[in-house]
Symmetry: C2
Amino acid sequence: MAEESYTAPLLELLRALEAKDGSALLAAAGDAHYADLAGLYENLDDENRDFFIKTIGPELATDVIAELPDTLIEDALDHFKPAQLRVLLGNLSDDDRVDVFQVVSKEAQVRFFSLLGPRDLELTRNLLKYEEDSAGGRMTTHVGRLTADMTVKQAIAVLRRDKEDAETLARIFVVDAQGCLVGKIRLRDLAFSTWDTQIFDIMEAADETVLATSDQEEAARMLSKYDLVVLPVVDEFHHLLGVITHDDALEILQEESTEDIEKLSGIGGEQSEVSYLNTSVVLQFRRRVLWLVGLAFVSIASGYVMFRFSDLLGNAFILTLFLPMVVAAGGNSGGQAAAMVIRAMALGEISPGNALRIAWKEARTGIALGTTLGLCIGLAIAFILPQFQRETGGAFGFFQLAISVSVALTAQVFSSTVLGALLPIAADKFKLDPAVVSAPSLASMVDISGMLIYFSIVGAILHLH
Amino acid sequence: MAEESYTAPLLELLRALEAKDGSALLAAAGDAHYADLAGLYENLDDENRDFFIKTIGPELATDVIAELPDTLIEDALDHFKPAQLRVLLGNLSDDDRVDVFQVVSKEAQVRFFSLLGPRDLELTRNLLKYEEDSAGGRMTTHVGRLTADMTVKQAIAVLRRDKEDAETLARIFVVDAQGCLVGKIRLRDLAFSTWDTQIFDIMEAADETVLATSDQEEAARMLSKYDLVVLPVVDEFHHLLGVITHDDALEILQEESTEDIEKLSGIGGEQSEVSYLNTSVVLQFRRRVLWLVGLAFVSIASGYVMFRFSDLLGNAFILTLFLPMVVAAGGNSGGQAAAMVIRAMALGEISPGNALRIAWKEARTGIALGTTLGLCIGLAIAFILPQFQRETGGAFGFFQLAISVSVALTAQVFSSTVLGALLPIAADKFKLDPAVVSAPSLASMVDISGMLIYFSIVGAILHLH
């Protein structure tokens, strides 16, 4: 968070921190939003973190810790004594508590389990069964449950009992005796119906559901597509297990977009939950170095092609003038096609089953781009080249050279575009990590093909072999 | 949308479309979600679109049209007669109606205005004053408004009057006599309070607000950060104008991510709202060709550097073996740094004011990456090169070559990393389109520096000048 965006309570809080004034800090923290407090905590040094978290105490810290990046959670919890931790862990909502257990060390997990009450313990153990990135691993089980034979009066009595759990009321579902989902109801319909109305008469169908074992991204996409505030999570027998909420969807889709951008740029490993400026240089280094070294070795293949054709280059050094252009055009056009296809896959617009349609579309786009680029550059060469004419040694005319570069460009752009579009689909089909078709790795591949295409076509047209 | 994901009502609907069975189509459409109907409509040909939209009629079409991509809206509306259009435009929620007016032709705008009732006309004209991508341009004005001196009984009577507008009840705000925002209230608090409770006693502070003139992305980021379902939009006097909702936030942030990915890949122009497979080849071509041609001309500069150093190359063709590697390493490392910084800026984590901190972080990362890569490749050369030794003509030893390539790589990776991190910030600072630092344009720039660095360093260390 940039410092200029600090709100008034946060500025007061910073002053209190500096003065080590506990009661002023506590007052300011009470006025601030916990998301802001978490952002501030992230930017503090160890000493101030310690003073801050101990001063606000376990009650207020509960909400702050739920908003912290994964890597800071265990350290933040370690500031509390067991009795305080018991309060804090009990206050966490069930989905936040599961998140905590998923990110702390094994040792801390065992210690924290011993602090949970029997109900929370069972609930947490059950939720931990789901994969971290599945709908089940992300859901909260706090849901208002009614049955269809209740009256509005009975329903309100049931919900009022849970009133302290305010979140529940945005999501009231109707289940049968076996706990299977049969419908949903809005608080407004309860509030504006007469007391003896039957739930059955005012409930709506709950058509959109997601399986607990589904990927969290599927759940996020459904929330987005159907503009839902909550999406019920069910098992294969349609038992209502919990819900995923709109704020989960936002978080999941943002994470996914960041991941796509990083992969497209050849950045590996788990994305950091800590903000960019708080990520260590060591972590930045680790996430980038493998790709850089790997791609450098791939580039030796391009160099080898160039080296093999050095006789041809030696005959006509003018060829060096257009070599980088043909090679780079492949990386650029391939990268465009890959980005289009990878994003469309992320938005759920295309699936591997459409491979043929995509190939056909990109083949046409590629041929249009390739011929346009070839023509533009061919014409430009016809104007630029006469100045260099003396240096070609007169072995061939500049018209021939313009044609050969133009043909090579067309071939390179066409093949790179089709390759760039099909590689992500192939990767997905074979369950490979789409990262293997990141823009840099694609560029390194088409560098090699570009060298081969350029030297073969130019060599053949200019009879330089 | 991939065909395999069609739900049961959609499959029925497709059968009805094929059989041109109007009543079956109407029944199936009634069971389907309007978001699914819009997705289906997008995939139909013109004839089936016509039959579909006329059969479902203006009432059902209202929700479908609100979900359509911008480019299809005017055409869809043109299927209706003026009397039907009057119904349809009247049924649209105010924010969806403004969207329609923003995307249709001037001619259609005038025609549609004449069909609006006086209240809708004024409302739409007012909303059209805001920029399309501002918070005001995105908000809906349907908000439940109470005053602090009402009792719960009076409040419920006011809200019940607007009950047909169900959306209102998720967002109930308390305003003063001047219409300034003073607080918010939850339906649940109304429902569970006694009838004579004063609104003043149960309302909460509405701390998070956004100015109508703010960028829509700022609103989306606030909804995301504070996990809000609705965010009040106010003017500079704190008058409550409307709200932005959680589903707007999802849409805005997804659009923004797509834009970032496209820019990073050198894809220009407005992003298509139509899904990838429904975008025409012509549009795909238009959005990509300018970058490709422009970058190709930039690449001639790299070619020119190489051409200028051809004497040096001619003396030692072995140098071609490592040229593509040094050049590509700059594009790769610069692209990584640019992606990190651009994403962090999009997530609001860094601002131009942090330029120095970012430069320092990337300088350290760049030096670590550069020296690691230089060392790896230098060692590799020491093993690979002896095979090529005879071809260097004995002018220099492979140990010298390993050292010079290693130094060139370090310099290229370091300078590209810092450049890749700083260019997006500079662009932002000077209000330039960050697209000028897309990965391909960055790669083309560092191609040139890479050629210069390689030939200068290698030439100097090997005494080849």
